[in-house]
């Protein structure tokens, strides 16, 4: 990952106070999408790197791009190493998401809410989870980032986004 431009600031400073003391002692690990799996990808599945395995269950900081979805899901969004747009209505899971795409999960109490799409790079901090998980649409994610409550603005629109 290239060095970050000056305006970058840690997003979730406030979240740290919620963490157990053992975790508090260690700052969030810097991770980049290219750290997740051995590259280039071999002939079969993905090979998780030692760095990914070490980050499992820990607080990490990731810089990526929010995927522009046609049919956003409540309580979650995708973060990818590069800007990607999806056309789920026509294409479903035949998509252009890189394999390192991370499913970002809002805190449990906010799973009914939609997060607005935001262009440009986003820095997110949260607890990293690795392993297969199927969501209610049947899509399997392999890497998930659990955000802390402070990640989200207090003022909110109740409106759900357009859906077909």
């Amino acid at each position: 990952m290239r060095s970050l431009p000056p305006p970058f600031r840690l997003l979730l400073a406030g979240a740290l106070s919620l963490l157990p003391p053992a975790v508090l002692a260690a700052p969030p690990a810097e991770l980049s999408f290219s750290d997740f799996f051995a590259q280039p990808i071999g002939p079969r599945g993905l090979e998780p790197t030692a760095k990914l395995k070490a980050a499992e269950g820990r607080e990490v900081r990731l810089v990526g791009y929010m995927v522009l979805r046609e049919q956003p899901q409540a309580g979650r969004f995708f973060l990818a190493p590069r800007p990607v747009a999806m056309a789920e209505h026509a294409d479903g899971e035949a998509d252009d998401l890189p394999v390192s795409t991370v499913t970002v999960l809002l805190p449990e109490s906010q799973r009914a809410r939609f997060v607005a799409h935001q262009g440009g790079p986003l820095a997110l901090t949260g607890r990293l989870e690795f392993g297969p998980a199927e969501d209610e649409t049947g899509r399997v994610s392999w890497i998930r980032l659990h955000l802390a409550p402070e990640a989200l603005a207090a003022s909110a629109s109740a409106a759900a986004p357009h859906s077909h």
Binding site: P7, P43, E47, E70, F114, V115, Q118, P121, A153, S157
Partner: protein, 673 residues
């Protein structure tokens, strides 16, 4: 007689309730509206299809028996009868009955009446009628074609074709180098509507060409039903299955999309849910004995990896397993000779393909080395393959738009992906060894996908890549003389319109983008009529433009667009986005009530869309179809997408009914490349 019965029942129904037939399949206008025309369902002589009726009994009653009749004669086959205590669509009473007969066919040409008679426990009977047609083969004027190649430019309307030709260059109004598809000898205009909409999606768009029938959107090789099971619908035999069963032809499916996507699956897989990835790829493999599947190439490796392997997308919820005891699905296995399937997300499908004798290619290098004497599985990406523009930039080592300073394909971890023409050449190399011939579908998938995103340059290069695959197929057909090739689309996407040319250099365009707004990016840029002139792209030795960011470039507008920001330049993301300040200084925002709150374009020129949401959509506009090879001139006029199936089958089964070109020759003219 049956009419009398029906009337008697209706009269009785006005006094007391009576059972009613709420659906009769195959679909017909006769059943739906009482009109005998148009006939909706049409089949080849002997082509297999299923019959089904949904019957609602009176409250407290149940349906005890159902019989189907064709032209008044009982259909002699097991009627599977089930109720709707579970597994039916919402709103259906539990006692609703679904009666099905699998694999019916007729050799008798012409219109047929289909009727069903259902009996309720109290002895009341109900009948309903519909119709279908068997389209006969006609006398041939030339020999049968051995091979059929269908080139499907997904979403490729006339605009996408024209745009690709303009990139090849024009001089004083004349094309410098026509597309390969321009040199096909016959062209028709195709009506693309699906069974349930003027605007089709890719599932019925494909299946109409290879089943002769209209399907609902999202459905592949099946008629709609009233159950939630995505794999139990009434089936229609595909061209691949019909020609494999009757002639021993092999099937090849090649795409730049994920291979489970609607267009590839719509040649071999029967499901009402185009999204059921695990079941779809399983069926490709398990029912290869029915389809003759010999080559399968594209992206979609995620569906072939066992659920425990990182990157796998296999789930039991997108899979299927037919009951061996419930006749409703057991008859699919028995009558169609189809696999029962099983909920086996842990299945290693790559390994199973290999054990069945297939070569497996994960890269272009593997593809080049693959033994043409063996069937071939190629899975070059985890979902869709990267698009031509990014693959070519990766090969050239230019336009390093990756986040890691490398190319986009390196970013994806898949730097060695083949181009579609390379895949097409290999597929033909394998399939031409089929002694009885083959059916090969080659899809340029991301013409559509990039048009959805209104990413002009990316769908432009997809169309150029697709045309190179067209050329490979045409050259093979020219050499063989026994191969019929069609190139068409399933539908148009995005309402693309070639509105003119830029009036400025690329440098000036970039500067105007920094000045922002409609005055700079529209009024100063968009050259219409003679101000468009002739954009001059330079084609490199690899067949693609040296750059798409030329001075005085081609400009494309969108008629089926969502709101979009436009700066006319090739999307080089993420470089462009990196120049923006980080979006995350403030906490993430909830979804705005107003969709206009999107912020992504530096140029600040918002084009308001006619469709809601984020993406451009498919349109109902007719699409061109061009044909090359023996019998090509049968493909003229304004035709229905389902007509194409009958023309292809006629050529393969009985022989061609038209010359190859207007000279009257039975052999196609040599292409002038």
């Amino acid at each position: 007689m049956k009419t009398t019965l029906l009337l008697a029942t209706l009269v009785a129904g006005s006094a007391a309730a009576a059972p009613t037939v709420t659906r009769l399949t195959p679909p017909s206008e006769l059943f739906a509206s009482g009109r005998a025309d148009p006939v909706i369902a049409r089949f080849l002589p002997g082509q297999r299809f299923d019959l089904q009726a949904t019957v609602k009994p009176d409250a407290g009653q149940k349906i005890t028996a159902a019989r189907f009749f064709i032209d008044g004669k009982p259909v002699n086959a097991t009627v599977a009868l089930r109720d709707c205590a579970s597994g039916c669509t919402k709103g259906l009473a539990a006692e609703t009955a679904i009666a099905t007969v699998r694999t019916v066919s007729s050799e008798v040409a012409g219109k047929h009446e289909l009727s069903v008679e259902a009996t309720q426990a109290d002895g009341q009977k109900v009948t309903a009628r519909g119709n279908f047609e068997v389209v006969p083969f006609t006398a041939a004027m030339g020999p049968k074609v051995k091979n059929i190649i269908i080139l499907l430019g997904d979403g490729m309307g006339a605009s996408q074709r024209t745009a690709a030709r303009i990139v090849h260059g024009y001089a004083q109004g004349k094309a410098l180098q026509p597309l390969a598809m321009d040199s096909f000898t016959a062209t028709a205009l195709v009506k693309t509507s699906s069974l349930n909409s003027i605007v089709t999606d890719s599932a019925p768009g494909m299946t109409s060409y290879v089943s002769g029938n209209k399907n609902n959107n999202n459905e592949e090789g099946v008629f709609p039903d009233d159950t939630v099971d995505a794999f139990d619908n009434p089936r229609i035999e595909y061209l691949s299955e019909y020609l494999h069963r009757t002639q021993g032809k092999q099937l090849g499916v090649v795409t730049t999309a994920d291979v489970f996507d609607a267009t590839p699956a719509g040649n071999a897989v029967h499901t009402s849910n185009r999204g059921a990835g695990t079941g779809i790829v399983d069926q490709f493999f398990d029912d290869r004995g029915n389809t003759g599947l010999t080559v399968l190439m594209g992206g979609g490796r995620k569906w072939f990896l066992p659920a425990g392997t990182a990157g796998s997308a296999r789930t039991d919820t997108s899979d299927y397993a037919f009951s061996a005891t419930d006749a409703h699905t057991a008859e699919i296995t028995r009558r169609w000779g189809a696999a029962a399937g099983s909920l086996d997300k842990g299945r290693d499908l790559i390994k199973e393909f290999q054990s069945a004798g297939f070569s497996y290619a994960a890269t272009k290098t593997d593809l080049d080395k693959a033994d043409a004497a063996r069937p071939l599985l190629g899975l070059f990406a985890f979902s869709n393959m990267n698009v031509a523009l990014d693959k070519i930039n990766g090969r050239r080592g230019v336009e390093k738009n990756g986040t890691g300073g490398g190319s986009v394909v390196e970013d994806f971890g898949l730097p060695d992906q083949p181009m579609l023409d390379e895949m097409a050449a290999k597929a033909i190399g394998v399939l031409k060894r089929s002694p009885k011939g083959f059916v090969l579908m080659i899809e340029g998938a991301s013409i559509d996908k990039q048009a959805h995103l209104m990413d002009t340059e990316r769908w432009l290069l997809e169309t150029l890549e697709f045309d190179r695959a067209v050329r490979v197929a045409q050259d093979f057909a020219a050499e063989q003389g026994d191969t019929l090739v069609i190139v068409t689309a399933d539908h148009e996407c995005s309402g693309a319109a070639l509105i003119g040319g830029s009036m400025v250099t690329d440098k000036a365009l970039a500067e105007l983008a920094t000045k922002k707004g409609v005055a700079n990016l529209r009024n100063s840029v968009v050259g219409v009529y003679e101000k468009a002139g002739f954009p001059r792209y330079k084609i490199a030795a690899d067949g693609y433009p040296e750059t798409t960011d030329i001075d005085y470039r081609l400009l494309v507008g969108y008629g089926a667009n969502a709101d979009r920001y436009e700066d006319w330049r090739t999307k080089k993301t993420p470089q462009r986005d990196v120049q923006q300040p980080f979006g995350s200084e403030a906490p993430l925002k909830w979804y705005p009530a107003n969709a206009q709150e999107r912020d992504d374009a530096l140029g600040d020129y918002l084009v308001t869309g006619q469709v809601p949401g984020e993406q451009a959509v498919h349109t109902a506009t007719d699409v061109p179809l061009s044909a090359y090879g023996p019998g090509a001139l049968a493909f003229t006029g304004v035709i229905d997408n389902t007509d194409v199936f009958f023309k292809l089958a006629q050529a393969a089964v009985r022989g061609v009914v038209a010359p190859a070109d207007t000279s009257g020759s039975k052999k196609p003219p040599k292409p002038k490349h």
